[in-house]
């Protein structure tokens, strides 16, 4: 007897959810809870991935970005709640790769991310940017990046209205949307990289 792949996947995912949530039930430490929440997000994505259509993929992308942004907000609340205001001391020593690699790796990722555009490109480029900021301890102009991403958001809303009300200009809409979402996701996420040091120029 052959189990259909979907049923197998569903059983595995729900079993995983039960195990994961049992761990949350038993957990008493708040930071551990944040970590376990990340685990739960992965299991939710499994459930979506099992649908196995293009639509499923289009649903995973928002799901991912929702997960990371909520994680960001909650971890910041945690820091505020515990009063962990002091930025961490610098690492005692640095590995060599952290001096040589960031520039080239970040460049590759950002360039490739721009080629990809959209959500995927934004995330890939953001990984590059985060890595760069992490290694170089950069303090960026916070307001500037936020303003940029705010405008990007507005551009995307414009693109959405093009699709809804002027569908004939779809090409324009695709370009605007791809570019704006790339910019928005990348800007927002690379802010994470600059927030580490705790300084704000």
């Amino acid at each position: 007897m052959a189990i259909p792949p979907y049923t197998l996947g569903l059983l595995v995912a729900v079993a995983g959810l039960i195990i994961g949530f049992m761990a949350i039930v038993r957990e008493r430490d708040d930071l551990h809870r944040i970590l376990l929440t990340d685990l739960a997000e992965v299991l939710a994505l499994v459930l979506i991935a099992l649908v196995a259509t293009d639509l499923a993929e289009a649903l995973i992308l928002p799901g991912l970005v929702v997960g990371i942004s909520e994680l960001m907000a909650v971890s910041e609340v945690y820091i505020a709640k515990e009063g962990l205001r002091k930025p961490p001391a610098k690492p005692a020593f640095r590995i060599e790769i952290m001096d040589s690699a960031p520039g080239i790796l970040a460049l590759i990722l950002v360039a490739y991310g721009i080629v990809l555009s959209g959500f995927t490109g934004g995330v890939v480029a953001a990984v590059g940017a985060v890595f760069y900021f992490m290694c170089r301890d950069h303090a960026e102009r916070f307001e500037l990046i936020e303003t940029v991403s705010g405008y990007a958001w507005a551009i995307w809303i414009g693109a959405f209205f093009i699709f809804m009300f002027l569908p004939g200009y779809w090409l324009f809409g695709v370009m605007m949307a791809g570019g704006a979402i790339l910019l928005k996701v990348m800007a927002k996420m690379s802010l994470v990289g600059t927030m580490r040091g705790g300084s704000n120029v």
Partner: protein
């Protein structure tokens, strides 16, 4: 063009708003909820927060807390965002879209509350934040199971008679909304309510109750 298959639950559709595959609808029920959300969003925009009076025990002294302008602005922004998200969730005609709006409500609720510096309030906000994040799991999971087992996410199709929606997916949706809006999980909300800023705090409750009402309609109709 469309006919809402469930007239006997929320009433006939009055008005349809199309966004591609996502077709929002106003029935008497959703329109009433929409109007209510609109009223309270407007209240959050126009009203200033109260000044809480604290009594110094052991004497007649009391003092009123002042309103922090920066905090006020941030909270008002969050409350308005929360109101808009609630408006969206009330009329959404697509299950996944509804879950996204629900998560937006959850995150804005965290924002409204997390702005305070009070340690107890922050602690409650944090616990609430964790639950809101956990709640996205059943929400998205429920929507995904519905999609896989019925092949559609549109409520217009799902409400029709022939479509059987798995019971676990319905249960997941309800649990998810409970988590996002904290409907029965009152403990964190009670702590939250102690914070200042009545019009904004009220938005937390309005959004959660309305979400709950909406999800009941969805679950019964499916």
């Amino acid at each position: 063009m469309f006919n809402l298959p469930t007239e006997n639950i929320g009433g006939q559709e009055l008005f349809v708003l199309e966004f591609g595959d996502i077709v929002n609808y106003f029935s008497p029920y959703t329109a009433a909820l929409f109007a209510f959300a609109l009223i309270f969003t407007a209240l959050a925009i126009v009203s200033r927060p109260e000044r809480q009076v604290d009594i110094a025990f052991g004497g007649d002294a009391y003092y009123a807390k002042e309103v922090d302008v920066d905090l006020l602005r941030f909270q008002r922004f969050m409350a308005i965002a929360c109101g808009l998200a609630t408006l969206g969730a009330m009329v959404s005609g697509d299950v996944f879209n509804f879950t996204l709006f629900a998560s937006l409500v959850g995150i804005t609720n965290i924002g409204i509350v997390a702005a305070y510096k009070n340690k107890h309030v922050l602690n409650a906000a944090f616990q609430y934040g964790i639950v809101a994040m956990l709640a996205t799991v059943p929400l998205f999971g429920g929507a995904a199971i519905i999609l896989a087992s019925t092949g559609t996410l549109s409520m217009w199709e799902l409400f029709a008679d022939g479509v059987v929606v798995p019971i676990i997916a319905k249960a997941f949706l309800v649990i998810g909304v409970m988590g996002e809006g904290m409907a029965p999980f009152y403990v964190a909300k009670a702590e939250i309510t102690r914070a200042q800023g009545a019009p904004f705090i009220l938005m937390v409750h309005v959004s959660s109750l309305l979400l709950f009402l909406r999800v009941i309609e969805i679950v019964i109709s499916m």
